[in-house]
Structures are given as C-alpha cells and as structure tokens.
Symmetry: C3
Subunit: 345 residues, 3 copies
C-alpha cells in the first residue's frame, strides 16, 4: 500500500477504450467507491442506488456510462464502467504474490505417484495424495489436503486449509476459498432397530470449469455416481450441498444456503442467502429464490418464490397483505353483528 504508483487519466481512458472528458493529465493512484474515494482515487458510477453518493464524491476521476454534468473531475465514458474498473484494478493493486511462487515447498508432502503440471505451486503443509493430478499453473496454498486420485485442472486456486477428499474431479479455473470441504461423506444412513447404520459413499464430486466455492462451504460426495457442480456456478460461504445434488450452469447461491440430497437445480438460478431445499426436488432454469426461502416442492423454470413453505413470491406478498387486513376484517364482522343484532332485537 505504501509505494503506490500514479497513472494519468488519459492513459487509463486509452486502456479501457473510453472517451475522455476533462483534463487527461490529472493523475490518480488508487481506486475506491464513490463514498470513500479521495482526490487521488479513481471511482466509478454504474448503479442508481449510488446516485446520492455520486453527488457527494470527492473522487479525482470517474468511470461512467453517461456524463455526470455536476462533476468537474475528468470522466471516462464507456458502456460498462463495472468491467472497466475491474480491468484497471490490477494496475493499482497487482495481485498478491502467493506462497510459494512455483514448485513444491519443502514442507509439503506430495506422493511420488502424483502428477504436477507446468508451473504448478504446492504450498507448505499441503498433502497431495497418491495419483492426484495438479494442472498447469494451479496453486495449492498452505495446509490444503488433496486426496488420492483427485484431479485439479489448469489455473485452479485452492486457498489455505481447503480439504478435497479422494476421487474428486475439478475442472480448470476453479477457485476454492479457505476452509471449504469437497467430497466428505453424504449424510446417508439406514435406520434399523432404532439405530443408524452408516452407508458407504463411493460416489465422487465433479466440479466443472470456472466454478467458485466459498469459504467453509461443504460439498458432499455422492452415495453412488456423482455430486455435480456445472460450469460457471458461484457458491458463497458456508453453503451446504448434499450428496448427489446437481447444480446447473451459471447458477449462483448466496451464503448459508443448504441443498439436500439428490435435488437437481437448473441453469442461471439465483438463490438469496439462507435458502433451504429438501431432498429429491427439481428446480427449473432461471428460477429465483428470495433469501430464507424454505423449498419443499418442485419449482418450475422462471418462477420467483419466497417464504416457508416457498410459494410464488406474488402469492406471498398477497398473503402478507391479507394478514395485515385481518383487523379490518374483524371490524367488519363486528359491524355486521351489531347491525344484525339491532335488526333482530
């Protein structure tokens, strides 16, 4: 943070192919949100929720899709300020050098039969089991456990203290955040004479390309077959995915969601935080789940649901309105009783 580099605004505009308005010779040395930016920071405006912050910002330069007339600082106009900002961040915050820079740390324990791709990095206190295979440029950080026969694709990042149990197969460009557990036994027991008998889980976990799994999340292995997380899925912290679940491409699940065994979720589904789903459900593509929904039945494609038990969100809102109208209903009944009483007396 100490040795910050400065960049001229016209250079930045050129890099993101934006149109510059104002003095291009002005320099910025950091990036920040509208409310936190100072005169040496570049900021961006892309969400009307931040319109109030925009009027008060002290940012020294702005990425924006539409010119902001009231701001005197240089502005870079371009269609997607969010992505432009994301692109420029690397100039101001070069990615941290992870440990170790490349190769195998002498404090790691890598099985002789494991395969390491070109440029792979294995940190200290990492175990890589028999016949595991680590892709090119993949980074496994301190304290992670890569079980026997695990496959990691290229450009994967395994953060510290992640556990990936035997047989799990991960694609390329997957990120597993610290403490996540991939491939633990599913919660499957047979109950006989009031006692549980553990059922062996010989299935695996398959995670396709471009998936991200949050910190301390847990993805259980299948009983038979596989638990399947498809390309592009984003799973937040402390989420639980049960055995034999399948999650479709580009689906996103916010923190602390839980999905029980054998439920199948479609593509591009959006789940707010703390949503729960029971087992053996089918959820269609593009469904939307409001935070804390409790889902106990199938959900068709495109549906938007909320509440417990989860129902179409419009019905839930109507039911809430009806609840709020109950005192009025009671008053009406009292009025009717009185009128009728007078009539009959």
């Amino acid at each position: 943070m100490s040795s910050r580099r400065s960049f001229r605004v016209d250079e930045l505009a050129r890099q993101v192919e934006g149109d510059l308005i104002g003095d291009g010779s002005i320099e910025v040395s950091g990036v920040a949100s509208l409310s936190e930016a100072g005169p040496k920071d570049l900021s961006f405006f892309a969400d009307t929720r931040y319109a109030a912050a925009l009027t008060k910002t002290r940012a020294g330069a702005l990425l924006t899709a539409k010119r902001v007339p009231q701001l005197q600082v240089p502005q870079i106009l371009l269609p997607d300020p969010v992505l432009a900002m994301n692109q420029l961040i690397d100039l101001f915050h070069p990615p941290h050098q992870l440990v170790p820079p490349a190769g195998v740390d002498p404090r790691a324990r890598v099985a002789d039969s494991a395969h390491l791709g070109d440029g792979a990095s294995i940190g200290p206190f990492v175990l890589v089991g028999d016949k595991a295979s680590i892709g090119a440029r993949t980074i496994v950080l301190s304290g992670a456990y890569i079980g026997a026969g695990v496959h990691l694709g290229d450009d994967v990042v395994i953060w510290p203290n992640v556990v990936i149990r035997e047989g799990s197969l991960l694609g390329s460009r997957v990120t597993i955040h610290p403490g996540a557990v991939i491939g633990a036994d599913g919660f499957g027991f047979a109950r006989r004479n009031e006692r549980f008998i553990k059922l062996r889980h010989v299935g695996i976990v398959v995670i396709e390309d471009d998936v991200e799994i949050g910190a301390n999340a847990t993805i259980d292995r299948a009983n038979f077959g596989r638990t399947l997380i498809r390309r592009g899925v984003r799973i937040d912290n402390l989420v639980h995915i049960g055995h034999n679940v399948e999650i479709g491409e580009d689906t996103a699940m916010a923190a602390q969601c839980g999905v029980s065994g054998s439920t199948t979720i479609g593509k591009r589904v959006m789940m707010g935080g703390q949503v729960g789903m029971v087992d053996h459900l089918k959820v269609g593509d593009d469904a939307i789940f409001i935070a804390q929904s409790g889902v106990i039945g199938d959900v068709p494609a495109g549906a938007k649901v909320s509440g417990y038990p989860a129902r179409p969100h419009r019905e839930v809102l109507r039911a809430q309105a009806e609840m709020r109208a109950l005192p009025r209903l009671k008053a009406k009944i009292r009025a009717l009783e009185q009128k009728l009483g007078r009539l009959l007396s």
Copy 2:
C-alpha cells in the same frame, strides 16, 4: 477405478445369503443407482420413490426384496437390499488407503507425554498435545489438531483439518469429518456497563461411541461441566451445538441446524435442515422437526413440529389452509354486507 474386478452374481448372492433368480454366471464389476447403472453394474431397489427408475434401469443385476417380473436380469432376493448393497460395496470399492498407513508421519508433532494405541495412524502436519491419548487403530489425518488431554477411543477417524480442543473426550468408532471444530469456547459473556466480559469456559465436550460429526460443524465446550453428544448421534455438516447442550442417543440432525446453550434433546429425535433452537429448552424422545423450524419452547416426546415459532405440524398445516381461505372469507363478508345493506335500505 481403472482395474475393476468382476464378480459372479451367484457368488454375491451367497455372500449376502439371498435367493438368486436368473443366470448366476453373469458378472458385474461395479455398483450404481438404478438410473445410472449400466449392464456391468449391480443395483438395488428398496424405495418406491424409485419405481419409475426401476422400469428403465439398465443394471446388469439387482438386489431386491420382491421379485421384479419385468426385469430379465438376475435378481438377488433378500429382506434388506440396502444393507446388502452396503455390505457388497467393499468388494467393488475397497476403502481408500489413508495417509499414513500406520504409525506417526515424520512431519507430525506428537507430544512425548501423548499415548498412542496399537495400529494408530498420525498423518503429516498433525499436532497431538500433551497427555493426549489416541486409541487403537484410530486414524488422525493431515492437518488435524488434537489438543492437550484429549482422549480418542478405538477405531476413530479424524478427517483432515479437524480441530479438537483440549480436554475433549471421544468414544470409540467416532468419525469427525473435515474441518469440524470440537471444544471451542461457548458463546458466553457477561454484559457490564454496555461492554462484554468474556466468561472462561472450563467445561469440556464428551462424545460417546458411534457418533458422526459433519464437515465444518462446531460443537462448543461447556461453561462448566460438559457438552454431551450421546451414543449413535448423527450430526450433519455446518451444524452448531452450543455450550452445555445434551443430545440423546441415536438422534439425527441434518445440515445447518443450530442448538443454543443448555438445551437438552432426547433420543431418536429427527431434525431436518436449518432447524434452530433457542437456549435452555427440553425436547422429548422421538420428536420430529421439519426443516427450518424455529423452536422457542419445550417440545414433548413424539411431537412433530414445524414453522416459526415451531408448533405441532398439523396446526401449522391447518393455519396454512386458513390463510389460503382468507380471500373466500373476505368474499363471504362482502356478500353479507350486501345482503344486509339491501335488507336495511
């Protein structure tokens, strides 16, 4: 997975003492669910939910309690196909060789005063604290922390990166899945002059025989005395058990449940996912909690509850029906108002 062995169906029938129908010389080399099985796989039928999958299965042989006439493949008839399958799995999937096979990995740190039973295995990057005692054939995998004075019984499996803090006592045949934390301080504070003062937690965690604790679950130590998980309890991933909680024998808790301090739960209780219980409750034997229940009062033995605040499930269903009937109620009131209006006009 590459060098699969094959087994004749009549051999398998003999092993599980089942009655063979069909050609016993046919061989299978794997196990799979009905929907995923191919002609070289053994499958099983035990749950009517899978009746549709049964009609379409391509399995090469079947374990079943009742003959399935429409299937032409060899069938092994026996009373409990689930347990038979569980028994045969080991043939097809010999348990993975864990690291290390036995003894103490040179990369572990085991206190001189610790005791190791016959055939115990301590993996790399494991710490075993002063006076800890590890039972016979117990396996402690990579990166686990076994605090001072901890006792692990025989045939225990501690998966990677588990933390068991000082003084915890575990019985035999206990399994702790990766990342679980046993014996962290309970959430107990005294609030004085608007600030919190931490209360020392000098109690312990006691886990009896045959218990299973899920990945990244947390079981807090007692303030005084002990947090007690009794024989045969099954706790799923990401569950939280507060200080001084007691859980009765053969109770099962699905993922992400939370139980607050000093609550006592009976035997054979079943809890769906994401159930929450406040502190100091008493829950009787054989109670059933539907997923996401929020429990704020005692629950008698045998009760089935759901919703927030949790009530008898039948009442909750009735209340939901009444909610759905509200529009009809409103229409009736309108009709009454009109009739009465005409009468009075």
Copy 3:
C-alpha cells in the same frame, strides 16, 4: 484434572472482596454449576432461572448476591457473583499451556520480512507471510495461515487452522476461534451475457480491539475499502459477514447469522441465532433481533424485530394471535350467514 488444589472459602471470599457467612475453614477444589456441583465444589447463583436448581444443589460453597437461608454451606455475598466466579475460575483451572510456549516452532514457516513482537508464539504448521506483523504476547496456534501484510495486535489468540488472508488488520486482545476465515473474497460478480465475471476484491478486513470471532465463521474482505468489525463485537460460530459490512461497537451476533454486503449495523445490537440480513441495510444502535429473523429493510435504533419479513416484534405477536383467532372468525361469519338466511327465508 487429577492434581486438584484445594482452597479455603475464607481465602476465596477475601480474593473477591465478598462477605463470608458460615465456616470459612471449609475447603473446595472445583467449580461447577448448581445442578452439577458436589460437596467439594464452589458454585454460584445469579439467575432466577436456576432457582429450582438452587434448592437442590449439593455445592460445598456458594457465591451469591443475596443470602440463601435454606442452604447450610458457607456463602460468599457480593454484588456480582458471575464476575466473581469468572475471577476465581483461574485458581481451579489454570489456563492450558498452549503450544508452543513462546517463540517460533521449527515446523512453522515465517517469512524473513515478518515482524514478531516480544513473547509472540508461532505454532507448528503455521505460515506467516511477507511483511506480516505479530504483536507482543500474541499466540498463533497450529495450522493457522497469516497472509502477507496481515497485522495482529498484542495479546491476540489465533486458534488452530484459522485463515487470515493478506492485508487484514486486527487490533489487540482479539480472539479468532478455530477454522474461522478472515478476508476471503466477497461474493461479487458482474453478470454479462448470462455468465458471471469475477470482480476483484482489493479491500481488506479491519477488526478492532477486544473482538471475538467464532469457530468456522467467515468475514469477507471488502470490494474496495474495508469490512469493519468495531471494538468489542462478539460473533459466534458459523456466522457469515459479507463484503463491506460494518458492525458497531459491542454488538453481539449468535451462531449462524448472515449479513449481506454493505449492510451497516449499529452499536450494542443483539442478534439471536440464524438471523439473516439482505444487503445495503442500515440498522440502528441497540436494535434487537429475535432468532431466525429475516431482515429486508432498515431497522431503527432500539427496535425489537422478529419473523420474515422482520417486523416489530409486537406486531408479529399480534399477527400470530390473529392467525390463531381465524377459526373463531370463520364461526362468526357462519353464524351471521345463518341468522341472515333465516331472516331472508
């Protein structure tokens, strides 16, 4: 536990400046709750919920604010028995010696550019990254990861297998319980052409003095700027704090709560277990959240809310009463219909 020391009750009374009633020469060798105490244990009474336990206790001596006439054992009278007990505990249970006692374990990996304060302890299998700074008497236990540039203040305790990612700044007297993850990337993505593009998170986590973070909790780093946990905050196990959240002084959050990105929470707020909050909310000082509340709007200072969507708790209780009155409402309507029917027939 074996070599317990004994203490005379009059000595104990002197230490906590309490008034002794009864025989001061009696000795106790342990501390326990009222229900678990035996004749050699000191116990305490401070909460009327334990009045029943008080009448049955077998404790050998008692700390209490008011004399308990029916008990024959020596009693120490003083204004705050909870704090007195907490003070005396150390006599009976000297804090466990953590590993290592001081200095750097030879099995740790500490960067040359890291700074260690006087009396700091770095356990085995710990990684301390470049330019990290560890305060005086701070203890980092086995398997923890301290990323590059992390600052830990004085007298901090980092329990085993904690992960603190690069750039996080922690104050003094902070405790991070096992498996917690500080500073993982926030859940921030841009969705373009139905696919997610990861947004780099270059912000940090700042944790001020006297904070406690529970086992397997996750505190995400900010997108820009910082996620801020202010002085004295207590966060329980398995809690999730999203990117750019700010939590005010002396606020307490019970287990499994989740707070989404950019939400700001005031001082001395109390949250029961499993409470969820959506993003970009503002919560005032001293607000109270009943367990399992689902919060989707701002909450003013001092409010007490519950349910989903969270509303003032009194309204929720009234709505529940109205729900329970629905069958009576239906009966009244039926009666009205019958009377009116007779009138019209």
